[in-house]
């Protein structure tokens, strides 16, 4: 019963979007609070860890809701639609730059596995930085799959809708991502690390 009451009290994303379509400012405020942090994180990691670009892109993303709230079909799941719009913005940026950002640096540097002796006493911050760079070195599609699945906690089905590809493709990309990261991070994540 308390759960039912709570679910009645807290509107769903789709209900918030309905209210936004009616022009309710409070609904937009609530939706922003709900999604700004995670979408900022998504842009930050998909755009080469640039806070400035993440700022610009999250602004553009929410402006799309402001300008054309009717673009969202309230019969759909909002989070899926929202990530899909965000993903399209990122793809457009990749096309604009006509290059795959930050793909080669770590990959090249770690093509020969780092000796365990080199990283005997990695502290937590350094490890996180290293992992971050390893994730950045993934191809954009693989990185997007990995982040959506293991950081944002979306299901394979949701990711397939966001990326507009079959679930099998998502699983394949996830598998490749895990394999690649396992290679890159073996020295950091191993039992002696």
């Amino acid at each position: 019963m308390p759960d039912q009451k709570q679910s009645k009290a807290i509107p769903t994303d789709e209900q918030l979007m309905q209210r936004i379509q009616q022009g309710q400012e409070s609904a937009f405020n609530a939706l922003y609070d709900r999604y700004s942090q995670r979408m900022y994180r998504y842009f930050y990691r998909m755009l080469g860890q640039s806070a400035e670009m993440a700022h610009d892109f999250i602004q553009e993303l929410f402006l799309k809701i402001i300008e054309q709230p009717e673009a969202f079909d309230t019969g759909r799941r909002f989070s899926t639609w929202f990530y899909a719009v965000a993903g399209n913005l990122v793809k457009n940026e990749y096309r604009r730059k006509a290059k795959q950002p930050l793909q080669a640096s770590l990959h090249d540097a770690n093509h020969t596995p780092v000796s365990m002796a080199v990283l005997p006493d990695l502290d937590a911050e350094v490890r996180k930085t290293y992992i971050e760079k390893a994730v950045q070195s993934l191809r954009p599609h693989h990185r997007e799959c990995f982040l959506l699945r293991y950081q944002e906690g979306l299901t394979v089905q949701e990711i397939s809708e966001i990326m507009d590809c079959p679930p099998g493709t998502v699983k394949s990309r996830l598998h490749y991502s895990l394999k690649k990261l396992n290679e890159l991070l073996s020295c950091v994540l191993g039992p002696n690390a």
Binding site: N29, Q37, K128, V135, K179, N182
Partner: protein, 199 residues
Amino acid sequence: MEPLTNNIEALLATKDYEELTKAERDQVAQSCGQQEYEQLRQVVLSGQSLAEVPTPPPSLKANLMRAFRQKHQRRNIPLHTITLPFWQAAAIAACMVLMGQFVRFGPVYAQTPAIVWEANDSIWFKKVTQIVADTALAVFTADDQLKAPKEGETNIAATATAQLPTEKMLPQPVSDTPGWARRSALGTVENTPLLLMMH
């Protein structure tokens, strides 16, 4: 490395190897083995424990909220938020009624009334007193303009008007004089039932 099955991928996302049931461990053994599972699990955990990113600046939210207001301001007129004191609402309603009256009846006063003989009317009836100006106009100017009624009609008004002592009447009031003023002017005719014309 063999491709991960659905189950293994889901297990990797949620459970350490030690947390797996016997059946799940059997699945892992058939798919990739304990060592590889643990390695991949470490990778998954590393993805979940990525460093926190900076938060979006508060100014961003302020800008977006402003943009939202500007966009939707024109579309929504919050009528339910408009409140007026009763006297203001009443004054507005009264003004609207008066405006309506002016628009409807105003032009009628500005027009020259059509003249119709109404011999039975009397100045003492309210309806008639309101148009006494028109009547007076006809009475004072009727001497030379009256025409004979058509055949078979009896123009009582013409007869009565012809009998009026017009030489005793005051001059014609100006056309925009109120009805009560005209009636007062005509009142100098003593003991004479004044016949009126209506339009």
